[in-house]
């Protein structure tokens, strides 16, 4: 069983957000980078599936410059078998998807996993785009995945609940909360072994640039919170009704 897990290299969830280059790009100075949380969970589940089956390989892939290698090594430390870095700046989701699809075309992965969305762009597009490029099915917002022969039993989130589905290999799944209970923490041994596992760097393929970020802006600073006395709770309801017109 061959699984490909797509990893993005993103600022930590509590990182300060600021921009440079006329607010076009994120300011990476002094920022801690991590594997995007949904992908970390997807990778954890992939490792569990491999262990349950007793065979298989887990490959992790990232599209980025050499600065993303520590994040790929972390994925190897978690237990992935090998890593691929496409040496290119991740311009947009289509660009990233096309690079990964190129690799996928010459490797017969049974399952390709991404996270539901990365926490920096919040786009949630790469997995589905890869699937369309290589013409395989995709299931989104996957909160559970089990393998049965050469198909998967998945649960995907829908409004008001879940839908249980069956999907034949190969397919792309984008994982969300629930796909694994918690991210796997690399053990010391895993961290040591990660250094020796293969990390292959490949060149990018030529892809049209369909979208680009023109500029980033920060939200308007919130006005001060209007405090209401606990003894006068009724006043809050009056304010919400008359002032905020929210109730």
């Amino acid at each position: 069983m061959k699984i490909l897990v797509c990893i993005s290299h993103v600022p930590d969830t509590t990182a300060k957000i600021s921009f440079i280059n006329d607010n076009k790009t994120y300011n990476k100075d002094n920022i801690q980078f991590i594997i995007s949380p949904y992908e970390e969970l997807a990778l954890t589940r992939a490792l569990e599936l491999k262990e349950a089956k007793g065979e298989g390989t887990i490959t992790v892939i990232n599209v980025g410059g050499v600065e993303t290698e520590p994040t790929l090594r972390k994925a190897l430390a978690m237990g992935a078998d090998d890593a691929i870095r496409v040496n290119a700046e991740a311009i947009d989701a289509y660009f990233v998807a096309a690079q990964i699809a190129e690799i996928a075309k010459s490797n017969s992965y049974d399952i390709i996993l991404t996270g539901k969305e990365s926490i920096d762009y919040n786009g949630g597009q790469v997995g589905e785009m890869i699937a369309e490029i290589i013409d395989i099915p995709s299931v989104t917002s996957v909160s559970s995945i089990d393998v049965d022969g050469n198909k998967a039993i998945l649960e995907r989130e829908i409004d008001g609940g879940y839908e249980k589905m069956e999907c034949e290999f190969p397919f792309v799944g984008s994982g969300q909360k629930g796909i694994a209970p918690e991210p796997r923490i690399p053990a010391m041994r895993g961290i040591m072994m990660a250094r020796k596992k293969p990390l292959t760097v490949v060149d990018e393929v030529n892809v049209e640039n369909l979208t680009e970020v023109e500029v980033h802006t920060l939200p308007e600073p919130k006005g001060a919170c209007k405090m209401v006395d606990a003894d006068n709770a009724k006043e809050l309801i009056r304010l919400l009704h008359e002032e905020a017109k929210a109730l």
């Binding site: 969830t13 957000i17 921009f19 994120y26 949380p37 949904y38 989701a93 289509y94 926490i119 920096d120 762009y121 919040n122 786009g123 790469v126 997995g127 589905e128 699937a131 369309e132 490029i133 099915p137 995709s138 299931v139 989104t140 917002s141 039993i153 995907r156 989130e157 409004d159 008001g160 609940g161 249980k164 589905m165 069956e166 909360k177 049209e208 640039n209 369909l210 979208t211 680009e212 970020v213 023109e214 500029v215 980033h216 802006t217 920060l218 939200p219 919130k222 006005g223 919170c225 209007k226 209401v228 606990a230 709770a233 809050l236 309801i237 009056r238 304010l239 919400l240 929210a246 109730l247």
Partner: protein
């Protein structure tokens, strides 16, 4: 020239967000001197389809083959792309729903369109398209420019107001060119409580955090939601969901559901960044917490430093007087 809008249905019915989406797409149609054309997939009555005409749609493609009861993103993608090709559409608008998140990126690849997901406002320009979306889990905005010839936008819930624009919509039955090979996924079971208001659809949310102390103590928030009305439901923070005090579908936050209600009450929620990432699009946030230094007060519009169990009953009383 036409703008195509995919109007999803839930058990044959449209929701408030469907009409918000239509109003948004209709405005873009006006900006580009285009007609607004809708596409519906699934079993929807003619009467329900006609309601789309009240918000600007002049034509509605109706795809109601049984096969589409299974949400195969491959099949939906082909169907929508076929209609887009037929109409010669250069712009397609979706709502940022589970189905659209599955389908819009695939349609974008198929049509070589630039996709801007999770838009929060009308385009600043339409040639080229430049549209604002949230980024960094709501801590920033990104203005995205589409370089491609075609554009696909997905609109976040509660980001646009409903505007009536009554047209006599023509319903066109359509059979896309799809086969069994496009349905490599099969639905085994659907598990949902259909009579429950989803946190994503509620106009008002009453949320509780660890400060509520136990599952039983959440009852006061259930009472408050009931007092407010059928458009209000209870939500919770991650620790509450992890402790199984409340069902997982009530969890709002970065790894739970991202919501955008008109009003969000946060009882006993400290306001961790990951929680705020899921609720920072709420129009009004009210925090009730015993800790005056809780970060939630920095994100809130109104606040009470007090005990949830003392404050909530008083609020319920005042709400009942209001109604």
């Amino acid at each position: 020239m036409s703008i195509l809008v995919y109007t999803e249905n839930w058990d044959g019915k449209f929701k408030k967000q469907s009409y918000e989406l239509l109003s948004y797409a209709n405005e873009i149609a006006k900006m580009t001197n285009s007609e607004l054309v809708a596409i519906s997939i699934g079993k929807v009555s003619d009467e329900e389809l006609k309601s789309l005409g009240n918000y600007g749609a002049s034509k509605i493609y109706n795809i109601n083959d049984d096969k589409f009861d299974t949400m195969s993103s491959q099949a939906y993608t082909k169907a929508i792309s076929e209609v887009a090709d037929k109409e010669g559409t250069k712009t397609i608008v979706f709502a940022n729903t589970y189905t659209s998140r599955s389908v819009a990126p695939r349609v974008a690849v198929r049509l070589k369109a630039g996709l801007v997901p999770g838009c929060v406002a009308l385009p600043a320009s339409t040639s080229p398209f430049i549209v604002k979306k949230k980024a960094y889990s709501g801590k920033a905005f990104a203005d995205v420019k589409v370089n491609a010839d075609k554009t696909i936008l997905t609109l976040n819930q509660n980001s646009y107001t409903i505007n009536e624009d009554v047209k006599d919509a023509e319903i066109v039955a359509f059979t896309p060119n799809i086969s069994d090979a496009d349905f490599k996924v099969k639905t085994l079971e659907v598990m949902k409580a259909s009579d429950r208001l989803d946190v994503g659809d509620a106009e008002i949310l009453v949320a509780g955090g660890r400060g509520m102390k136990s599952a039983e103590k959440f009852k006061i928030l259930d009472d408050m939601a009931e007092a407010i009305g059928p458009h209000c439901t209870v939500a919770c923070s991650r620790p509450v969901s992890d402790l199984d005090w409340r069902p997982h579908y009530e969890h709002v936050g970065q790894t739970g559901k991202v919501v955008a209600p008109n009003l969000y009450f946060a009882f006993g929620i400290s306001g961790a960044i990951q929680h705020l990432a899921g609720v920072n699009s709420s129009k009004v946030i009210v925090a009730i917490n015993t800790d005056k230094d809780a970060p939630i007060f920095e994100a809130a519009d109104y606040g009470i430093i007090g005990d949830a169990f003392e404050v909530a009953p008083k609020l319920i009383e005042a709400i009942k007087e209001l109604n």
